[in-house]
């Protein structure tokens, strides 16, 4: 089940804070760029939706996927959101800057393998 996805956390001002390419099969270089392009384009649509529903506002977790696993994706988002809050609680972390912790990276990939 070749199941790849590109996951990105974007802050206010549309700056990516964190990106990861997760999946079962390794992809070629240009596919990775394409994924990111699509994600950026989707940002505008998300922005419009954000104010009409009572969902998350300024920091957005975005996932580009080619599977139909809705429940898994929802749980994945919830778990990553928790991780993000824990990262945010660090008083030395400036909200909106890149997340460089390798531990965070490991955890996200483990979650991705588990839920996607």
């Amino acid at each position: 089940m070749a199941n790849t996805a590109c996951f990105m956390i974007v802050s206010k001002n549309d700056i990516p804070i964190y990106e990861a390419e997760v999946g079962a099969a390794p992809r070629k270089e240009d596919a990775a760029h394409q994924h990111q392009f699509i994600l950026h384009a989707a940002l505008d649509i998300v922005q419009d939706l954000a104010w009409t529903t009572s969902a998350i506002l300024h920091t957005r977790l975005m996932l580009l996927h080619d599977s139909r696993n809705d429940d898994g994706i929802k749980s994945f988002f919830q778990e990553v959101h928790e991780l993000y809050i824990k990262t945010l609680l660090n008083p030395l972390y400036l909200p909106g800057s890149r997340i460089t912790s390798s531990h965070f990276d490991t955890k996200v990939r483990a979650l991705a393998r588990k839920y996607l």
Binding site: W51, S54, A55, L57, I85, S101, H103, F104
Partner: protein, 194 residues
């Protein structure tokens, strides 16, 4: 060796659970830390306005984090999009988590449409602080004003928040009022949402 006897020692903060945990922090520890914060900033600046601004910035960082944490814990990730909603959220939930009780009152300003006030008889951060005469109108409540500004700003309601002393008859210490003045776009959006 320190820490050898601990049962569950999480090596990394990302592993620790995000649930409520211990609710209380010792008041004296906080008062001590806060007084150190004020003193440290006092040595770094030349005038009162700068000192207030620094306290506010410290509070802003706290406010941003408190908002995310509370939204996650209490409301299951539902965000407030209405003005009154976010104000009552600050007034009850945030105050309860930070100070152990809800704020004394929430009022709408009479002069301007965009002003609201949260008042408190005795603000926790001011309890152990006395202001010398030559500091004039300086108020350590600027820290709390910063927290409120952090919460509002990150919820999408940019505002200017300040703390003021309001003398009250029959009371020794004046009441503290946090004045919230919302930006133009907030009012426009609120009018649009109807």
């Amino acid at each position: 060796m320190i820490g050898v006897g601990k049962m569950k020692q999480y090596t990394n903060v990302l592993d620790r659970p995000l649930s409520k945990g211990k609710q209380e922090v010792s008041l004296s520890a906080f008062a001590f830390l806060f007084s150190e914060l004020v003193q440290y900033n006092q040595t770094q600046v030349d005038n009162i306005a700068e000192l207030e601004r620094r306290l506010e910035d410290a509070g802003y960082a706290v406010g941003a984090r408190v908002l995310e944490l509370l939204c996650h814990r209490e409301k299951g990730n539902r965000r407030e999009t209405r003005l009154l909603g976010i104000l009552s959220f600050v007034h009850s939930t945030v105050w309860k988590v930070l100070f152990g009780k809800v704020a004394d009152s929430l009022e709408k300003g009479t002069e301007h449409e965009d002003e609201y006030m949260i008042s408190e008889k005795e603000l926790l951060v001011n309890r152990f602080i006395s202001i010398p005469k030559d500091m004039g109108t300086f108020n350590c409540g600027a820290f709390v004003a910063g927290i409120v500004r952090g919460v509002l700003d990150n919820a999408g309601f940019p505002a200017v928040v300040t703390a003021h002393f309001v003398p009250v008859e029959g009371q020794q210490r004046p009441r503290t009022t946090i004045l919230i003045k919302f930006a133009e776009e907030v009012l426009r959006r609120e009018a649009r949402l109807g």
